[in-house]
């Protein structure tokens, strides 16, 4: 549980709500054929997500400099996005333009990136002790 930090939880909760809002706006834009809106919403969502991860990971590092190359935030973000997307496809009001195959393809691509991130994270673990970079432990 040491790795589930307050900042990670706050990030996850905000991201959860933001993802539902994103899904709603995408479906609404597609249903009403506001295709420019889709790009705009996606861009705002992506930029907000990047800023949020950057901000919360900095706060997290200030509290405890866990050396994981942002992997915890990446994992949390991926699974929340996956969960929200599947809930939305199952119970939300998706547009006729949305198909589950698009979601599955995106999930597989993101999963591959996540696996690469995990491999890099594992390779750098020898520089750390109990999740902290050895050179950062003592001052």
């Amino acid at each position: 549980m040491k790795y589930i930090t307050k900042n990670l939880v706050i990030h996850s909760v905000i991201f959860l709500f933001a993802s539902f809002l994103f899904r709603y706006l995408i479906s609404w834009s597609l249903t009403n054929s506001h295709f420019h809106g889709v790009w705009m919403v996606s861009a705002v969502y992506f930029i907000s997500l990047t800023v949020m991860i950057w901000r919360f990971s900095i706060l997290d590092k200030k509290h405890l400099p866990l050396y994981d190359l942002g992997f915890r935030f990446h994992v949390a973000t991926f699974f929340i996005w996956l969960l929200v997307s599947h809930i939305w496809f199952e119970f939300g009001s998706i547009s006729p333009h949305e198909e589950i195959i698009q979601l599955n393809v995106s999930s597989v691509i993101w999963l591959i990136i996540l696996v690469i991130h995990f491999i890099v994270y594992r390779l750098t673990r020898k520089k750390s002790f109990k999740g902290l970079k050895k050179s950062d432990i003592f001052e």
């Binding site: 040491k2 200030k62 509290h63 405890l64 400099p65 002790f129 109990k130 999740g131 902290l132 950062d136 432990i137 003592f138 001052e139």
Partner: protein, 123 residues
């Protein structure tokens, strides 16, 4: 009286002090558990104020030491206000400090090095 080499002395001391905070914190906790203000006071007093530390810096370090299980804390009632965290060295922390002292500090206390360290007024 300030010597002309004062800037050099300060620069050397600045470099020398880097990495010493851990030792001072561990020394503060060696004999008894302490809360952060007490650790700060110990470090500054016992180092003749050559080591200065902010409480925030102490908290950040203590969180790291707790994470790697060399320090732990108990929560106790303070005289006033909220409960205080009293930090102490765990068994691993005690062993780590002991080993560090043996390998890095004790060599200054014996033999030729000890002789060389004596200043003019001690000779």
């Amino acid at each position: 009286m300030k010597h002309e080499y004062q800037p050099l002395l300060e620069a050397w001391e600045e470099t020398y002090k880097k990495g010493q905070l851990t030792l001072w914190i561990f020394l503060a906790l060696k004999d008894s558990e302490k809360y952060v203000e007490e650790i700060k006071e110990f470090v500054e007093t016992e180092s003749n104020n050559t080591m200065r530390c902010e409480e925030q810096s102490l908290y950040r370090n203590l969180r790291k030491y707790k994470h790697i299980d060399v320090v732990d804390f108990t929560t106790q009632k303070g005289n006033r206000g909220p409960d205080r965290k009293y930090y102490f060295l765990t068994e691993i922390g005690q062993d780590l400090l002991e080993n560090f002292i043996q390998r890095n500090i004790n060599l200054f206390l014996h033999g030729k090095i000890n002789e060389l360290l004596k200043t003019d007024d001690q000779a």
